[in-house]
Every structure is written in structure tokens, then in C-alpha cells.
């Protein structure tokens, strides 16, 4: 792997490096903090629970549908307001949401169904897998490592799969 560093000649390189590094660490801390809040909400709302996922797929409780529905509505309203008022991100760049390419659609219905099957079996999607492990259920290391294996397999098979 080659790493190229471009340093302006007018600034001593050590100062630039340490500023860049501390800015990067600060950035990562912001995301880690947001992730922590997200993990707390997920776990306190029990959307990470196999029991709640079973209730959802059996249509026996409104809880999960209420969570997902109001999450989508809140996010949609936020995106509308961001566009309406041309909100920029804190570094000043215009906010842009990339559009997903439809292609033949195979990857979405087939990949989606395979994931859905796994979601029902484990009772957790990728974020909740981490939250459940964090809450102390150590055996969740197994589905997490298996999920990494699944993604790795996809990476190997990707050229041969219909998208």
C-alpha cells in the first residue's frame, strides 16, 4: 500500500500532521458519541430483541411498526427541510444524498430476502447485533463473525451474481 502525503511547503510538516490527526480523532469521537446514543435508543426501545422481531413478523404487536414508521417519517421530514432550506453540513459543503441505481433490481429483492431471513433467525440486524453483544450476550460474537464471513463471501462471488 502506498500512502501519499501532500504537505504545503510554507507550514512545518509536524504541525500540519498533528493538527490533521487531532481533527480526525475529534471527528471520530463525534461519530462514536452519536453511535453510543443510537445504541442506547435501540436497546432501551428493545428493537434489538429477538422477542420483538418475532412479534413484528407475526403481526402481534404494533411496537416495531411504530418505531420504524415514525423513524421513516422523521427522517423524511428532516430531508425535506434540509432541501427546502438548503442546509449545509458543518464543514460548509452542501448536503447531498446519493441516489441508488436500480439496475435489474435483483440485488434488492434477492439480497433483501436473504437478509430478512437472517434477521428473523437471529432477531437482530447489523446495528442491534452490536448492541446485544454490548449488553452482555457474548454468544452474539458468533452471528457477528458469521456476518463478516457472509459479506466476505459476497465480495468473492460478486462478479458472478446478478445485480
Amino acid at each position: 500500500m502506498t500512502i501519499t502525503l501532500t504537505v504545503p511547503t510554507s507550514v512545518p510538516s509536524s504541525a500540519t500532521d498533528s493538527t490533521a490527526i487531532s481533527r480526525r480523532v475529534a471527528g471520530l469521537l463525534v461519530y462514536a458519541t452519536l453511535g453510543t446514543l443510537f445504541g442506547i435508543v435501540l436497546t432501551r426501545a428493545q428493537v434489538v430483541s429477538w422477542f420483538r422481531i418475532q412479534e413484528m413478523f407475526r403481526f402481534q404487536s404494533f411496537h416495531m411498526f411504530g418505531v420504524l414508521g415514525t423513524a421513516v417519517l422523521t427522517a423524511a421530514l428532516s430531508l425535506h427541510l434540509i432541501r427546502r432550506f438548503g442546509v449545509r453540513s458543518v464543514d460548509g459543503t452542501p448536503i447531498s444524498v446519493p441516489a441508488k441505481a436500480m439496475g435489474t433490481g435483483t440485488r434488492y429483492w434477492l439480497g433483501g430476502s436473504l437478509f430478512g431471513l437472517g434477521w428473523a433467525l437471529v432477531g437482530a440486524c447489523p446495528g442491534p447485533l452490536l448492541a446485544v453483544l454490548g449488553s452482555g450476550v457474548t454468544v452474539f460474537l458468533v452471528p457477528i463473525l458469521s456476518a463478516l464471513t457472509g459479506t466476505w463471501l459476497y465480495g468473492l462471488l460478486r462478479p458472478r451474481l446478478p445485480h
Binding site: 469521537l29 461519530y31 462514536a32 453511535g35 453510543t36 446514543l37 443510537f38 445504541g39 435508543v41 435501540l42 436497546t43 432501551r44 429477538w50 422477542f51 412479534e55 413478523f57 407475526r58 404487536s61 411496537h63 418505531v67 422523521t74 427522517a75 428532516s78 442546509v87 453540513s89 458543518v90 459543503t93 448536503i95 440485488r107 434488492y108 429483492w109 434477492l110 439480497g111 433483501g112 430476502s113 436473504l114 437478509f115 430478512g116 431471513l117 437472517g118 434477521w119 433467525l121 437471529v122 440486524c125 447489523p126 452490536l130 448492541a131 454490548g134 449488553s135 450476550v137 457474548t138 454468544v139 452474539f140 458468533v142 456476518a147 464471513t149 457472509g150 468473492l156 460478486r158 451474481l161
Partner: protein, 183 residues
């Protein structure tokens, strides 16, 4: 542990979409982290894993680490091993699957290290995990990226993916789990 009501949790979860956009123009999504970890730790020639994962995924790995930490904070402070308050019909259905212990976020009869020595345990934990990793990579997103952020942005591919999530989930719940756990 009483669950936070849906009308509190749902809007809070939805707010992570604008929060990540405003903080750094990042699109909410968790499953990409599986790809980033593969790219970081597995030496492979597959093109899918050859990119600058630190630049593309550093923020997301930090976010994922936070989720783990958030789960730990709840685990240490909120006693999540109390009895789950489920719909009575759900209680009946899950009892029929052989679940007798309704304490904690997951049924400990099915999700424990000893359960891994049984066929249902292996299928649910390893097989289920494998499907999660393969399916989310194939579909290009999971519940967060497609069902929440993608649907909120009215993207058709995300609607197709979300319908797929539910098709697979219904198959797993109504066909596969009863077959696996029938006594």
C-alpha cells in the same frame, strides 16, 4: 426493563439521518461496516474490498463502536435481563416454539454458548449471521440504510429491498423457525 414507547424511540432513531448529514455529509447506514472490517483485516484480491476503508468507513466504524458501547451502557445501568412485556399472543406463539424463559433481550434457551452445540442453535446463530452479512452486502444496505434512510428519501430500490426484508423475515418466522424448533 420497560421498553421506551415507539413514539419516543422512532423519532429519535429517525433524527440520526439528518444528524449524520449535518455533522459530516454521511448517509445513515450500518451494514457497510461489515465490508469495511473485511477490507481492513482480510487480505483478498476481490475488487469489492480494495478501497481506502479508513477514508470511506472510518466514521462508520466509530459509529458502530458507539453502538456496542451504547448496548453496554444499557446493560450496566438498566437491568435488561428483566422479564419482557410481550403481547399475549406473542407469548403463546413463542411458547409453542419451546421458549419458556422470557427474561432478557433474547431467549437464553436459544442464544447461549451451549445452544451452539444444537442444530437449531447453529442454524440460527451462524446460518442467520451468514445470511445477514451476505444479504446486506448483496442488497447494498440493511434496515438503517434501506428501510429507514432509503425509504425516507423515497428511493425505489430501498422500497424493493425493504419488501425483500419482510418477505425473508416472514419465511423465516412462519416456516423455517417452526421447522427448526418443533418439539
Amino acid at each position: 426493563m420497560t421498553a421506551w414507547p415507539w413514539y419516543v424511540a422512532g423519532p429519535l432513531i429517525g433524527l440520526f439521518v439528518p444528524a449524520l448529514l449535518v455533522v459530516g455529509n454521511r448517509m445513515f447506514g450500518i451494514s457497510s461496516n461489515l465490508r469495511h472490517v473485511c477490507a481492513a483485516v482480510l487480505p483478498t484480491r476481490a475488487e469489492y474490498f480494495r478501497y481506502d476503508w479508513r477514508r470511506t468507513g472510518g466514521w462508520n466504524l466509530a459509529f458502530a463502536f458507539g453502538i456496542l458501547l451504547g448496548g453496554a451502557i444499557v446493560g450496566l445501568t438498566a437491568a435488561p435481563d428483566g422479564t419482557m412485556q410481550l403481547a399475549s399472543e406473542a407469548h403463546v406463539s413463542m411458547t409453542a416454539l419451546g421458549v419458556t424463559d422470557f427474561r432478557g433481550l433474547v431467549p437464553r434457551e436459544l442464544f447461549s454458548w451451549t445452544a451452539l452445540t444444537t442444530l437449531p442453535g447453529v442454524v440460527m446463530l451462524s446460518g442467520g449471521g451468514l445470511l445477514i452479512g451476505f444479504g446486506t452486502a448483496y442488497a447494498g444496505g440493511c434496515t438503517s440504510g434501506h428501510a429507514i434512510a432509503g425509504l425516507a428519501d423515497l428511493q425505489t430500490p430501498s422500497l424493493v429491498a425493504t419488501l425483500g426484508f419482510f418477505a425473508g423475515g416472514l419465511l423465516g418466522t412462519w416456516v423455517v423457525l417452526p421447522m427448526l424448533l418443533r418439539h
